[in-house]
Amino acid sequence: MRHRYWWGSGMLLPLLTTFIITACSKKNTEPTPEPAKNIAFVKPAGFPEPVYRLADNPVTTDGFALGKVLFYDGLLSRDGTISCASCHIQANAFTHHGHDVSHGIDDRLGTRNSPPIQNMAWSTSFFWDGGVHDLDLQPIAPIENPVEMDDKLNNVIGKLQRNTRYQQLFEKAFGSPGINSTRMLKALSQFMVMLVSADSRYDRYIAGKETFSEEEKKGLALFEQRCATCHKPPLFTDNSFRNNGVAPRPFGTDSGRYKITLLDEDMYKFKVPSLRNVALSAPYMHDGRFGSLESVMNHYDGGFYPTATLDPAFKNGFSFSEPDKKALIAFLKTLSDKGFITNERFAPPPGFVQGD
């Protein structure tokens, strides 16, 4: 039997289901049907152990359901218009497709490109500069950022506490009444760690269940030689901070990792992004400067801006022929995971309106 996530079918359904199940079980002595909506975190074959402390926050069906409602709810923003999903759209592997830098409340512009939310359970830090070290702490930043949701965490908690629907959802998720920051953040984490992408054509090729074209094979070989040290499979990132030579902007320069560590050696370094679903998550780089994978490949074809911290990998003639670039792009496209971006389990709850 396929495990199905019921929440998407409406707010009342889970309650109704529980009610019917209890009602039924009272009438007949048949064993209660296996709960049809169990959710648990499963580590994909070949993936390392997750970094996120799942033991401290085990994913449960109700915790996940609450996290998802929070993720899609504009209540987390000052004026109710912006939800996490406004900038993290499932069809684009939870990025803000089409925006170089994110648009937040009152259409205020951020300075950074919203990265995909996928395989967060393996991330050792969050944001392009790694300023957040724990997934649980991550949502505080967009909620309080004046160009994103522009609210205050204590105010958001207050709004949730006054909302009877949330009172019920929190009680279900945590087994006792009460809404506080820890619970809200843990529920959001439960939703986010479940956003696992591990079933692309590449994964199936590696598992011997799929064939690659000659061009894709060539792209994979090139990738393994030239890119995989940083974009290390299976996560396609080694979680390190590197300067891949994107030119600093003359105005409003983003110093990257330096902003956090204040160490000169970290100037202009950014977190190596995962390349899973990269064909779906344009634009590219921390400030979304490149609109296409072709531009990215042109960058990696000797377009590195020389600064003191430029990664040694790019210092001695790092370039590609046009056919090589094509092959690399063909390979990158095999990292798209249809199942992930269409999985109903992660889809907006009813009534959710996707903004701009």
Binding site: F127, H133, L137, A141, N145, L153, N180, I260, T261, L263
Partner: protein, 269 residues
């Protein structure tokens, strides 16, 4: 010489309140109460927010609208060097001038003894800064006490905050903001970064003691001089640095705040 000693004896007796004549603590299970009181000052004066002008060592006039800081990891030390360490989970205090109740912190179950020194940290240690959010309630909760004292984009607490306005400020609104934090990084075996936590040890003046017994209460009265954030090893100029947050310069202010505290006196009731 003898005269001096005699004089000292008399003075000590005079200085001690009648209740100071206590029997030494012998029962290892005896516990008492200590109250920590933090009294915020501006130089020799009581700190008055907003309306009272002050002057820093750089000669600039200023008013203060916000003064708040974390102190943590308290240890009480006797003359013979015995150390009582407060239970870690309950050793974090946020003192904010705009919240009078934040000035008083009562410690229960302190082992009986005659304490002469207090050691504590200004700021929040790296372990607590990176601990699971469920281990950071109350003043450490970014949705409660820490709402104003937490950087969400660079996860960590602001240890001390001094804000106000000054005609000398080069900020467009003539304001100044000193938000000092940073606990040293090192998370996930990352590199060590700027660490603005500071540990200080203060001695109760005039050979005073905080006398902790079952039937008594000792109140240690600290002074915290807001102006010392600006005055000290580096005299901070508001004109030159109206805003200091996550920058290398924050270290200078952290060095200054190590000199910000003293124990003014102790009441033994």
């Amino acid at each position: 010489m003898k005269q001096n000693i005699l004089l000292l004896c008399i003075l000590t007796i005079l200085a001690s309140c009648s209740k100071d004549k206590t029997t030494p603590a012998t029962d290892p299970n005896e516990k008492g109460v200590v109250v920590l009181e933090f009294d915020n000052r501006a130089g020799t004066d009581d700190l008055i927010l907003n309306n009272q002008p002050y002057r820093n060592a750089a000669g600039e006039q200023l008013t203060i609208s916000k003064f708040a800081y974390y102190v943590s990891n308290f240890r009480l030390i006797t003359a013979s060097g015995q150390v009582y360490t407060l239970p870690q989970d309950s050793s974090y205090f946020l003192i904010s001038e705009d919240n009078k109740t934040s000035a008083f912190h009562t410690l229960y179950n302190v082992p009986a003894g005659d304490y002469t020194q207090v050691k504590f940290m200004i700021g929040i240690d790296s372990a607590r800064n990176t601990m699971d959010i469920s281990k950071r309630p109350g003043v450490l909760d970014p949705a409660e006490g820490a709402a104003d004292m937490y950087w969400s984009w660079n996860s960590g607490y602001i240890f001390a905050k001094l804000e106000g306005s000054s005609p000398a400020s080069t900020d467009a609104q003539k304001l100044f903001r000193y938000h000092i934090g940073l606990y040293g990084g090192g998370f996930n075996n990352g590199p060590r970064t700027l660490n603005n936590t500071r540990e200080i040890t203060l001695t109760i003046p005039n050979n005073g003691k905080a006398i902790v017994r079952r039937d008594r209460k000792a109140q240690i009265h600290f002074f915290a001089d807001a102006l010392k954030m600006l005055n000290g090893t580096t005299n901070v100029s508001i004109a030159a640095n109206p805003n200091v947050m996550v920058t290398p310069f924050s270290e200078k202010i952290a060095d200054n705040y190590t000199q910000m505290f003293n124990i003014d006196h102790v009441h033994n009731e």
